[in-house]
């Protein structure tokens, strides 16, 4: 991946602690994400990966610590505000409208960019019509990019799982995010689908310059496509660095890789 040049810190996560009642999901986790890099968060089941993503995404409010995006710190921010700041995400269990077509699902991703109001959109006249055309152009580019042209008009629920994941990625891309959070993008996929998805993630990063934070179980994939990796175990950060460094970190091996072998 020699062509990518990570730059300044985009996302700074500092001293995050999160607990649900007596259960400590995250304790004092600190890491940063640099512009234009692919950053992975790994760890065994229940290590706190999804909780971390939900904190960045504004779904959970951590009790301690701060998260700043391009220098702007937020403590009490909801997921819509985070989205408006240019952070989009995909979901492990998909968040698509199953009865709607691929095209319509992607159009919903453009919602934040629409300036016309609901009434105007409902009667689809004048500004609303022009706006829809503009948004459609963006969506069509994403359809082309993700190679899902044959399924434009197919209801999402009728597509195989691997393609649904791709549509979910498309919906997130439709927001033209600066930072893209991917929650287990390869979960439940076969080898070929994983290869396709890896290629798309690299392409998104390369073509659109999007910074990517991803959680993933599949170690092979993570090692192949990430620039830097954070390792969590029982809510604590136990490793952080380039794939080779993480791979040889004895603590990581015993906590995570050790359990695999």
């Amino acid at each position: 991946m020699g062509t990518r040049q990570p730059g300044d810190v985009v996302l700074d996560v500092h001293g995050i602690s999160l607990s649900f009642g007596g259960v400590k999901a995250l304790s004092n986790v600190t890491f940063d994400v640099k512009e234009h890099e692919i950053r992975a968060i790994i760890g065994p089941n229940g290590a706190g990966k999804s909780s971390m993503l939900n904190c960045i995404n504004g779904v959970y409010q951590p009790q301690q610590g701060s998260i700043s995006l391009r220098g702007k710190t937020f403590h009490q921010m909801n997921s819509r505000q985070v989205a408006e700041m240019g952070v989009a995400r995909t979901f492990q269990n998909l968040a698509l409208f199953k009865g709607m077509s691929v095209l319509d699902n992607l159009m919903t991703g453009r919602n934040l960019k629409m300036r016309t109001n609901l009434l105007q959109q409902a009667i689809r006249w004048g500004a609303a019509e022009r706006e829809e055309t503009e948004q459609r152009i963006v969506v069509e580019r994403i359809i082309d990019f993700l190679e899902i042209q044959p399924y434009r008009k197919t209801p999402v629920g009728r597509l195989p799982y691997g393609l649904q994941k791709r549509v979910d990625l498309g919906r997130a891309l439709a927001m033209e995010p600066q930072v893209l959070l991917l929650d287990e993008p390869m979960a439940g996929m076969n080898v070929e689908e994983k290869q396709d998805m890896s290629r798309f993630i690299l392409d998104v990063n390369d073509e659109f310059g999007t910074t990517i934070v991803l959680i993933e179980h599949d170690m092979g994939v993570v090692m192949d496509i990430s620039d830097r990796i954070v390792v969590l175990d029982y809510g604590k950060k136990i490793g952080d660095g380039a794939p080779e460094a993480v791979r040889s970190n004895p603590e990581v091996i015993s906590a995570y890789l050790g359990t695999v072998h």
Binding site: E140, Q149, P150, D206, E207
Partner: protein
């Protein structure tokens, strides 16, 4: 008037500048390129290529799907008197090495990253390949190889060159002569290297025009370009005839959207190999099986009606008023919506060729009102040799010789063709040229066939495979193994067939059952079986296959030339013929000789009149281990029929 391709382009651009020439679906919308816009792109690319150093007589390789700018690139090369060489876009890099070296190629215009990667790979073995341009820049931003540039850069350079040399393009086009070489197509040789088939403007344009006159094609026709541009058929249908007639060629969005695009465009002139038609019918059948009972009943009734009335209707034969009314009703409820679903609602002329097409498959399309016909031709003949007239389409002939074509049948059965569309030569291969072109201008097709009573040409097999019956009642009769095998394979229960009979007194055959179809058939009859071998030797299965063979015999008896090829005895093999065991080629063609050798005892048993035979065969499993299968195979006699003479 003796036109050339760039000349035709400029004519269209001058006479109907705003008429659509090409459409391409991009970002979900069909984008149109008019004749004048196309001419401008061609002019720019031609000037760019000239500046880069492409000269008269040099070859330009073009690789990719059907894309407007790749078509423009071929026209641009021809405008300079250079020769476009389209290559198969799905070939592996190694397969490009021979043609690129053979044709001394220095310049290539390719579609995308996939093709660029292959070009860069072959460069090591083809040092002359200096410049590569690509149409779609996706993924190529970080490529910095020498000589690699986007097509946009070539076009920009072309504009600059054009501005400095304003008269250049027109002067180059004016130099083109009809007898100049226009294009070269590599045919995949079954033995040795591919051969470059050289065609001139004259040969391609003459045949394209003859075909267009035969089917009355006009500028109002619409074509969907979805087959590989390196195949001459695609070149004829969407390039040569496109420029001759001036109709619209539509480029699909991607290979996977072809069916959707077909429906949106609704072409009027359509070509597909039999397997495409077969695939479409299968998808219809599967969807109908899932449909509700009322819909299924309606569909079955309507299709029975279509089978009864449709073919006669398409052949222009008289149909009673009540049947016409019935058909109109069926058309309203089933046939028209079905044609629409298939994307055939506007098809005026549809062709299939390349392999034998099953009569049921062929009749299905004709019966629902699609004018599906067959044609005969090859790369060497610029496709059009024989075509079926509208009302005379048959599943087992390939039509009548069209204008300009002369046909001669050798005593060996081989078909010779003389026409203005014959290849000029095989590139740098005078021995191969001399093998197929006779001194007095005939081309040896290598196909065996004959002309039937109605004047239609019937292809029966490759000439080298055709044999003769020796001794017995049919002494001296023609034996065409592939023809017989194809007839057997049209039955869904028969997967493979191998016919023997050359220099023997009768024809015998090995049959491979289709596990899925026969398995289903057996299940419906509560016939228990433990596996392939057991199923194949069931008495009931033997009877099922015997009925099929008997029908084939009845069919053959109606054909006086091939009545002697009727099958007297057969056996059902206990194992599937397999490429791993050397019984089939990798493209699933039966290797008759290897099979006869391997199963010598079975062949002997068939001819010695035994009623069963024990055999042990070594087999190779998929993991590479070998094993033995043994079985006692029953040999079944089939009634044959006296030749009924000419049926037609």
């Amino acid at each position: 008037m003796s036109p050339t391709f760039p000349g035709l382009l400029l004519e269209h651009a001058a006479q109907r500048p705003n008429a659509p020439a090409l459409r391409e679906k991009e970002f979900g919308i069909w984008q149109t390129l008019s004749w004048s816009e196309l001419a401008a792109v061609v002019r720019a690319i031609a000037c760019g290529l000239a500046e880069a150093g492409l000269t008269r007589g040099q070859h330009l390789v073009v690789i990719g799907e059907n894309r407007p700018r790749l078509y423009a690139s071929m026209l641009a090369a021809q405008a300079l008197g250079a020769i476009p060489v389209p290559l198969y876009q799905d070939a592996a890099a190694a397969e490009f090495v021979f043609p690129i070296g053979n044709a001394d190629v220095s310049f290539a215009i390719v579609e995308d990253q996939e093709q660029v990667d292959k070009m860069l790979e072959v460069r090591a073995s083809c040092p002359k390949l200096a410049r590569i341009w690509f149409d779609d820049p996706r993924g190529l931003r970080h490529y910095s190889e020498a000589g690699l540039a986007p097509l946009d850069a070539l076009i920009a350079a072309g504009h600059a060159y054009d501005a400095q040399h304003p008269g250049f393009f027109a002067a180059e086009v004016a130099k083109a002569r009809p007898a100049d070489v226009a294009a070269m197509f590599y045919t995949s040789g079954t033995t040795g290297h591919a051969k470059g088939v050289v065609h001139t403007h004259e040969t391609l344009i003459d045949r394209a025009a003859a075909g267009a006159r035969f089917d009355k094609l006009t500028a109002a026709d619409e074509v969907l370009a979805y087959l590989p541009p390196a195949w001459i058929g695609q070149n004829i249908f969407s390039y040569a005839q496109w420029l001759v007639c001036g109709y619209v060629v539509n480029c699909p969005e991607s290979a996977s959207t072809v069916m959707i695009d077909l429906k949106e465009i609704g072409p009027t002139y359509y070509f597909a190999p039999p397997r495409v038609f077969e695939g479409l019918l299968t998808s219809v059948t599967i969807r109908m099986e899932d449909a509700g009972r009322i819909k299924r009943w309606l569909f079955d009734r309507a299709m029975a009606l279509a089978r009864r009335i449709g073919p006669a209707r398409m052949d222009g034969k008289p149909v009673s008023a009540i049947d016409r009314l019935r058909y109109a009703l069926g058309n309203l409820i089933i046939y028209a919506p079905l044609r629409n679903t298939l994307g055939f609602s506007r098809v005026r002329v549809a062709y299939t060729a390349g392999e034998a097409i099953g009569p049921d498959l062929f009749t299905f399309y004709r019966s629902i009102g699609i004018n599906l016909k067959q044609l005969y031709g090859s790369t060497e003949t610029a496709v059009f040799v024989c075509l079926q007239p509208d009302h005379e389409a048959r599943s087992d002939t390939v039509g009548v010789p069209i204008e300009g074509v002369e046909i001669r049948i050798e005593p060996s059965g081989e078909i010779l063709v003389r026409s203005p569309g014959l290849l000029k030569e095989y590139f740098k291969n005078p021995e191969a040229t001399a093998e197929v072109l006779t001194g007095d201008g005939w081309y040896r097709t290598g196909d065996a066939g004959f002309v039937d009573a109605a004047g239609h040409v019937k292809i029966i097999d490759r000439a080298k495979d055709v044999g003769r019956i020796f001794g017995g009642a049919n002494d001296g009769a023609l034996f065409a193994p592939k023809y017989v095998e194809n007839k057997l394979k049209f039955f869904p229960y028969i997967k493979e067939a191998v016919a023997f009979g050359d220099r023997r007194e009768k024809v015998c055959a090995f049959i491979n059952i289709d596990m899925e179809a026969v398995g289903n058939w057996a299940e419906k009859r509560n016939l228990p079986y433990g596996g392939y071998a057991e199923l194949s030797q069931k008495v009931q299965v033997g009877e099922l296959i015997r009925d099929c063979v008997q029908k084939v015999n009845a069919d053959l008896a109606a054909d006086d030339k091939l009545a002697g090829s009727q099958i007297s005895r057969f056996l059902v093999l206990h194992k599937e013929l397999d490429a791993d065991d050397g019984e089939l080629t990798r493209t699933r063609k039966v290797r008759r000789g290897a099979i006869a050798e391997r199963y010598q005892v079975l062949v002997d048993a068939l001819y010695e009149g035994k009623s069963e035979q024990y055999i042990e065969t070594a087999v190779k499993f998929e993991d590479g281990r070998t094993g033995k299968v043994a079985a006692t195979l029953k040999i079944i006699d089939v009634p044959t029929f006296a030749a009924v003479g000419r049926a037609a």
